[in-house]
Symmetry: C2
Subunit: 255 residues, 2 copies
């Protein structure tokens, strides 16, 4: 009797070409497949809930697989971590219904985009934040963020090469918060954009983050976001922010 | 006319054999010397305020050097960073008195020791925290920390090979704080030991951190620290905690 297991996975994406398996490349999916197959002595291909880009991090990615192994469902994390490199960790595991498919069931996904806003990029933060030198107007960024909340056609915020049956997505929440006093070097701080939605188009979070940064720099007004959304045109929105600042922090399913 | 410049330096110590220059090894001091010499076109050897071990990080290390360069004192950081790898950054620069020696002037130094206390080590925290699986008693750690505050002979907390004219040091402050809710994976949290003193013996902060961890694990009572200090014997104290959790965060001089 096979059972279906769901893994919550965290990774440092720095040294990977993203989630999706690619021949000859180091990927999260490929590395997880190898570790699970080795430890369970079965040929296992996990189904991921999301395909993060090269360099993007995760604290709450999700993948499922079927296994005949008798290991108790909550113990897979301990077993699989034994075969994973230390930049990938299964944080938890549990049994889910046999027909549960992580990309075909409604869910709330939360991403964070972290900006190091200071004169120089702090070395111990450089791998997990995007450095912006000039002081950002966090209030304006928050005001702009509110325009994204709700159901919208996000065509203007989809990267080239994105494929989706529909470009309509719902954002439940978008907040921009600030952590001050990081180094005692005056103005240095970390700015975190937190965004929760029912799904995101290709590069959508990074384009929203890039646009909010440009709002924070005064290049756009918060109200401009409304026109960007209505344009249905990628060139109407801001730049795509770099991958290293992005982290997939949570998947929430109704199971 | 030469002037003396003080640099505040941050680094990710992961890929270095510590501060102190060693032939054939990658060190912070050696890398800073090369960058300063190249950019100022002088043969410069900086004087560091502290020699951190291999793998230890810094957000506020200090080094000084003399130069005949006409660059305004507060602009050296911008110039020198141009020649540094991205895991070392000069955060600020200023002119100081010509006879100022960073190891011969009284100062307050602050170190932080970061512990990732959770089931699995979060990949994006693994380089800058030490992982402890079992739940630590933070209240007991704080209680134990108070015994270190004040002037003491720290012989029991000096690593083998440490050389010092006196083993007496003064700890001004020691606090243990907790950051919860890191991943939503139940009990995961970060515990930060912050310690300020007029100086530290070889490995002293790491032995204090290791001892506090063992107090948090219930292996020692907080009161045991008193007897450890009085023993003047390294074997009376706890283990030396790993380098990766340690960060030199601040130097405070009266200038």
């Amino acid at each position: 009797m096979k059972k279906r297991i769901m893994l919550t996975i965290a990774y440092d994406g720095t040294d990977y070409k993203g989630w999706q398996i690619q021949p000859g490349e180091s990927t999260i999916e490929g590395t997880v497949n190898e570790a699970v197959s080795r430890m369970l002595e079965e040929d296992i291909h996990v189904i991921g809930a999301s395909r993060t880009d090269a360099g993007v991090h995760a604290e709450g990615a999700v993948a499922v697989f079927d296994t005949a192994s008798p290991i108790p469902a909550d113990k897979y994390s301990f077993v699989i971590n034994q075969a994973l490199p230390d930049d990938i960790r299964v944080l938890s595991s549990k049994q889910i219904p046999d027909d549960f498919h992580p990309r075909k069931v409604p869910c709330r996904k939360t991403y964070e985009y972290r900006i190091y806003n200071g004169t120089f990029h702090l070395p111990t933060k450089r791998l997990y934040t995007h450095h912006v030198y000039g002081k950002l107007d966090v209030e304006a960024m928050n005001e702009a963020g509110e325009y994204f909340v709700g159901e919208h056609d996000f065509t203007s915020f989809m990267g080239a090469g994105g494929q989706a049956l529909t470009t309509v997505r719902t954002i439940y929440d978008l907040g921009v918060r600030c952590e001050n006093g990081l180094t005692g070097q005056g103005r240095d701080r970390e700015i975190i954009i937190s965004i929760t939605g029912n799904g995101f188009l290709y590069n959508m979070v990074r384009i929203i983050a890039g646009t909010l940064i440009e709002v924070g720099q005064g290049r756009y007004c918060p109200e401009d976001v409304k026109a960007m959304l209505e344009a249905h045109d990628r060139t109407a929105a801001g730049q795509t922010a770099p991958a290293c600042g992005l982290c997939l922090v949570k998947y929430k399913y109704d199971i």
